[in-house]
Symmetry: C2
Subunit: 123 residues, 2 copies
């Protein structure tokens, strides 16, 4: 799963939407289906760059979607099927969420094959 | 756990460090102890605002720490105990990680008690 879980992103700058949430215990099947559909739909939107997502056993999760501009984020927000799914989310699936929109300025990474050097890039 | 998992953050702007990683299977006890210690240590640093973190059963995790300035992030990066723990992370605990530093521009949230209105704030 290693390589699948990470978004393949271009060099910054780009924009990230950090979505932190706590699920209700309700409707796991409907939630899972809708979440997969939203990722599929987002991948087809102009300006979508990639997404990373994780949820713990306690119901708390973080999803970070990445976009090439704030306009792309606004257009996704206005997408009709996405808006309808957000309504279902508030009614059924989420107890609480927080959403932050951020401009990514710098990025770097490291893999076990890289040796110690690569993280010492931008401070 | 609801209220504990979310960072209590001031209004933007502030800076977020998005750390995505895949764990090795090694040294769960040592990792857990070091991760808790790093959160404790970060909380005492100037400019630290809050952190949210989750790891899934498959070993992929996202941690978002929030800071009041890029200078605060740089100072934390230079902290000696943090630097030593990062070395242990590369040697033992992580298979791959990606780190992105971003300026948070807008933020909003919603809780089940809020009704539908609060998410319709900034577009």
């Amino acid at each position: 799963m290693d390589s699948d879980a990470f978004a393949k992103l271009p060099p910054p700058p780009y924009y990230a939407v950090v979505f932190s949430s706590v699920r209700t215990a309700a409707d796991e099947a409907g939630y899972g289906e809708a979440a997969a559909r939203m990722v599929e739909l987002a991948r087809g939107q102009p300006g979508f760059l990639g997404v990373e997502s994780v949820r713990g056993a306690d119901g708390f999760g973080i999803t970070v979607s990445n976009w090439d501009s704030e306009d792309a984020i606004r257009a996704w927000r206005r997408h009709a099927e996405h808006a309808a799914t957000r309504e279902r989310g508030r009614a059924n699936w989420y107890r609480h969420f927080e959403l932050r929109i951020a401009r990514v300025e710098r990025a770097y990474g490291w893999g076990a094959g890289d040796g110690p050097g690569r993280t010492d890039a931008p401070a």
